[in-house]
């Protein structure tokens, strides 16, 4: 519950830092789209900042290439607690179409394992699928991350009767 209390202070105006870990740029364009007056994430106080040290939420895109991995770890370590990460796009969520290439580590879940080894804790992750994720999906994901709306999806198991 302590995390919830901390998140409440963030909720008023989350400052976001955009961290690209080797994405194809489509997701990054959609992030910009979400911040422009057309979809206007600034209605919820979302503001883009240029340093991870100022950020409440990290907008994370890309499948984490090997080249960028050390820089990503450094950037995430610089984010103050509570660290909230929004993994945007199927690349960041599960590796996307690069899920088994030699040059990427396969998305945020894999990165989180590495971060744990380096002692960098992430307090909350919200996964936003899509290739690219729609601007609305990004706005919705941010609202889920900050606890404005309840998440819609849950695990489904369908059994075939025959």
């Amino acid at each position: 519950m302590k995390l919830e209390e901390k998140l409440k202070s963030v909720r008023r105006s989350p400052w976001v830092f955009h961290l690209n870990s080797g994405s194809c740029n489509a997701c990054d364009i959609e992030i910009l789209d979400a911040l422009t007056p057309y979809f206007d994430a600034e209605r919820f106080g979302v503001k883009l900042v240029v340093s991870p040290r100022h950020a409440d939420v990290v907008l994370f895109t890309g499948p984490v290439t090997r080249e960028v991995l050390p820089k990503v770890i450094r950037a995430l370590r610089a984010v103050p607690r509570p660290r909230v990460v929004a993994a945007i796009g199927s690349c960041a969520v599960g590796g996307g179409i690069w899920w088994d290439t030699y040059s990427t580590i396969g998305g945020f879940p894999k990165l989180q394992e590495i971060l744990k080894r380096y002692g960098v804790e992430i307090d909350r992750v919200v996964y936003i699928p899509g290739c690219p994720a729609r601007p609305e999906a990004i706005v919705y994901g941010l609202l889920v991350a900050l606890g404005y709306v309840k998440q819609k999806v849950s695990k489904v198991v369908k059994t075939v009767e025959s």
Partner: protein, 173 residues
């Protein structure tokens, strides 16, 4: 200079008034979704055979097939899906529909998974599980074969055919 300082914002204001309000009301209003938009897929368990054709074509391997002892599970991981719709084109049973669902944000990876669990039929001769029951059911509907023929696994069927040939040519098997 002085004129410019007043004129520039005035010009901006005229443009702003002419354009009006462009901001979409989402999430308080409807999203900007067109006819052509593709969202997450949905597998109809009443139609799916468990054949695995969709698993073969899926570019990012968002669909996976898992063989367990008496079950075949088609696993769909929305998180990795690129919403290409190739699985819906490929599915021989037309079990996959592409929905317009995009509000998929989740705080847990497990919430993004969808399983379709198939029961596997056992061979009537050797008792080994060999094919999803739903697939056999629909194959029998589509082709003039009996249950007696369909319920036997390929290995046993091969043996049976070999034995029949052998008997015809006088071998003692």
């Amino acid at each position: 200079m002085q004129v410019n300082r007043i004129a520039a914002p005035l010009k901006l204001l005229t443009i702003a008034f002419k354009t009006g309000r462009v901001t979409k009301k989402y999430p308080f209003g409807p999203p900007l979704i067109t006819e052509a938009f593709r969202g997450a897929i949905s597998i109809d368990p009443a139609k799916c055979w468990g054949c695995g054709a969709c698993v073969l074509v899926c570019p990012p391997n968002a669909l996976d097939i898992i063989f367990e002892k008496e079950k075949i599970v088609i696993e769909y991981f929305k998180g990795r899906c690129i919403f290409c719709g190739m699985c819906a084109d490929t599915c021989p049973a037309n079990a996959i529909t592409v929905t317009k669902e995009f509000e998929l944000a989740a705080t847990n990876l497990e919430d993004l998974k969808e399983d379709v669990v198939h029961r596997v039929s056992k061979c009537a001769v050797c008792g080994k599980p060999f094919a999803p029951a739903a697939e056999l059911r629909d194959v029998m509907k589509m082709h003039p074969i009996t249950e007696e023929y369909a319920n036997i696994c390929p290995d046993c069927r091969r043996k049976r055919t070999a034995r029949a040939f052998g008997m015809r040519f006088g071998a003692s098997i």
